[in-house]
């Protein structure tokens, strides 16, 4: 059975009847990179938020199984500790909390409750070393570790710090929501390089994107086209090229009549 199984997922904006996801089915396994592409308003970001447990959406139907457990029964922090990671399209500033402290708390939250149930916090020198290595990989200046997380960071910096957190938390399923938006070509190269370096047989990556640009750097195994809350087509990497020429609208229409 695939590691991630999404079945007939429906979701509304909380406390409204506005349905955004209208029955999503998707399967993927660790070691694979999948991309979800779609026009604005198709529900791409909603899907990423719903998978992570965003309070602004409620699931009305369906299930999401990851490694055999139902994610929908879990709060966001439990999903994270179960191996999920979301790189936010618009990361939040956390004033007064430094990058290093924040990531260390997150790492410790992940280490807590291991088999022996002990706190087991990471040793600080070991943590510093790992953090510095990850920052180097993402070409982030080391002095940034003592800045408040995302506070006054540029759009591109925020995206790098999302990937930095991913590198430190080592998820088994990473969802990258428009991670390429707002990145110039150099930043895109660095961020993509980071994603590729972190990929491996124990991690699956779901890339959510509007443009195929990032897919030139991170090669997907599968591409799914999301239109109006439904996956209208799935295929191999070549689908991105086809989309470039046909556009989302035409593809959606074609699917509708076929």
């Amino acid at each position: 059975m695939p590691d991630l199984v999404i079945r007939n997922l429906h979701a509304n904006i909380t406390d409204t009847d506005t349905e955004i996801l209208k029955g999503i089915d998707l399967e993927m396994s660790k070691g694979e990179i999948h991309a979800i592409m779609g026009p604005n308003g198709s529900g791409k970001s909603t899907l990423s938020h719903v998978l992570m447990g965003h309070p602004g959406y409620e699931v009305t139907e369906g299930e999401v199984m990851f490694e055999g457990v139902n994610l929908l029964d879990m709060a966001a922090d439990e999903r994270s500790r179960a191996g999920l990671f979301l790189s936010f399209q618009y990361p939040f500033a956390v004033p007064g909390v430094t990058v290093a402290n924040f990531i260390r708390m997150a790492v410790n939250a992940h280490r807590k409750g291991g088999p022996d149930g002990a706190d087991n916090p990471v040793r600080i020198p070991e943590f510093r070393k790992q953090l510095m290595e990850a920052m180097e990989m993402l070409e982030i200046d080391k002095s940034m570790a003592s800045r408040s997380l995302n506070d006054g960071f540029s759009g591109g910096e925020k995206k790098r710090f999302e990937i930095l957190q991913m590198a430190m938390l080592k998820p088994r399923l990473a969802i990258l929501d428009e991670t390429d938006s707002g990145l110039d070509i150099d930043a895109l190269r660095i961020v993509s390089g980071g994603i590729n370096a972190l990929m491996g047989p124990d991690m699956g990556t779901l890339i959510i994107t509007h443009y195929q640009r990032i897919l030139d750097y991170v090669q997907p195994d599968r591409i799914h086209v999301l239109v109006d809350g439904r996956i209208v087509r799935s295929g191999g990497a070549e689908l991105a090229k086809e989309l470039e020429t046909t556009g989302y609208a035409e593809m959606a229409n074609k699917e509708a009549v076929s």
């Binding site: 309070p55 709060a75 936010f88 956390v94 924040f102 939250a109």
Partner: protein
């Protein structure tokens, strides 16, 4: 007792008689009712009560001088001989009143007058307190530490403090209002900074949960002098504190930072002024509060720019984080500007923890309670990081965060 002092007390006593206890119709007491306070239930503390004061947050480490006032008098009156040799005067105000009349007479009751009820009451009834005078050019590196404590239940403590810094003088004074016993505390602090002087002033109000705490602190800041004032309020049942700065000299600076955590049924009222009487002065006020349970905070702040104070740069903000739907925070900013060419800005907000920010932290595996605590600490940190002394900052952060339960 000197004649001038007796005369001043008599003037204050007359005012105290003339002024009634303020009601909600008084502009400065619009949000703080005193109807539930039975002033007759308190016994004026006239002498010191022997014993050790407890609960100070910032007393660790070396000091240039240390004073503890318990009830009506001072029980600890220590002063470094080395600092004294530089001409600095520090000690119990009652003890020094006769010998240092030349310092005290021009100050006492001249910065905080007797036109307000509780300042007048204090002017008539103060029993002891602190005098600090740093002569021109003397820079005292170590902090002075002052603690006030009510040691006897239902005691009324009237403390008074005078600080004067000569030209170019520098000092740090930490003033702590300790939990002690329930009672009534009323005090006045008058601060005078001569040209280019620099004072770091830290005030911690951690009075007993049932104590009524009134205080009027007012500073006059001369040319190119700087007052770095940080206040932390976590105590008292009803607290009303005036924090006033008057920028009398060109190019002077007054920075006011405050953090408060108000829980239970506490009521905290902070009343501030930034009075620009000279050109090109800078004032910057940042107050941040966390409200829990059915607690209540009030901040009323006015920026007053006098005619001729061109080039004024004044800022005030009050931000409140509401951790309970039954808590309430009122922010009343005010501008009174009588000149052109000034920059005055203000901002006030009150709101709960942002659920989306909480989601962001939780998405990293951080449990909900820890995420909320992190948001609270980060919120307060923005005001706390304005405190230049790292040791003071850390001790205050620890003390404050102890008041924020893991929800």
């Amino acid at each position: 007792m000197s004649t001038w002092l007796e005369e001043r007390r008599a003037t204050a006593a007359e005012q105290n008689e003339a002024l009634g206890v303020p009601s909600l119709s008084d502009e400065h007491w619009r949000f703080t009712s005193l109807r539930g306070v039975d002033f007759a239930a308190f016994t004026p503390a006239v002498v010191a009560t022997a014993g050790e004061a407890t609960g100070a947050i910032l007393a660790e480490g070396d000091h240039a001088g240390r004073i503890v006032m318990r009830d009506g008098g001072v029980v600890v009156d220590e002063f470094s001989a080395e600092v004294s040799a530089q001409g600095v005067v520090f000690g119990s105000l009652a003890r020094l009143a006769d010998d240092h009349a030349a310092l005290i007479e021009p100050l006492l009751g001249t910065i905080v007058g007797y036109d307000e009820k509780f300042a007048a009451e204090n002017g008539a009834l103060w029993t002891d307190g602190v005098l600090l005078h740093v002569p021109a050019g003397v820079k005292v590196q170590l902090p002075f530490h002052v603690a006030y404590e009510i040691a006897t239940p239902a005691a009324a403590q009237q403390w008074r403090m005078l600080i004067s810094l000569g030209e170019g003088a520098e000092a740090t004074l930490v003033e702590e209002h300790l939990p002690g016993q329930p009672g009534y505390a009323n005090g006045v602090a008058e601060l005078q900074l001569a040209a280019t002087a620099h004072l770091t002033y830290v005030v911690v109000q951690d009075r007993h949960d049932e104590t009524v705490h009134f205080a009027a602190h007012r500073a006059e800041i001369a040319k190119d002098a700087t007052l770095e004032w940080s206040a932390c309020s976590i105590g008292a049942k009803t607290g009303k504190t005036r924090m006033e700065t008057r920028l009398t000299g060109e190019g002077s600076t007054g920075r006011l930072s405050a953090v408060y955590v108000v829980d239970g049924k506490r009521h905290l009222d902070l009343d501030t002024t930034q009075e620009h009487d000279a050109p090109n002065a800078v004032s910057d006020l940042a107050f941040k509060g966390v409200l829990l349970d059915s607690a209540r905070s009030v901040w009323r702040g006015v920026i007053r720019v006098a005619e001729g104070a061109q080039g004024t740069d004044a800022y005030q903000e009050n931000r409140n984080l509401m951790l309970s739907p039954t808590a309430r925070a009122d922010s009343i900013p005010g501008l009174e500007i009588d000149t052109n060419d000034v920059r005055c800005t203000h901002g006030a907000t009150a709101g709960p923890v942002d659920p989306i920010l909480k989601f962001y932290l939780m998405s990293r595996g951080i449990p909900q309670a820890e995420a909320e605590r992190m948001i609270v600490e980060g919120f307060l940190e923005e005001a706390l990081e304005r405190i230049p002394d790292l040791r003071i900052r850390e001790a205050l952060t620890t003390a404050i965060m102890r008041r924020v339960p893991l929800v």
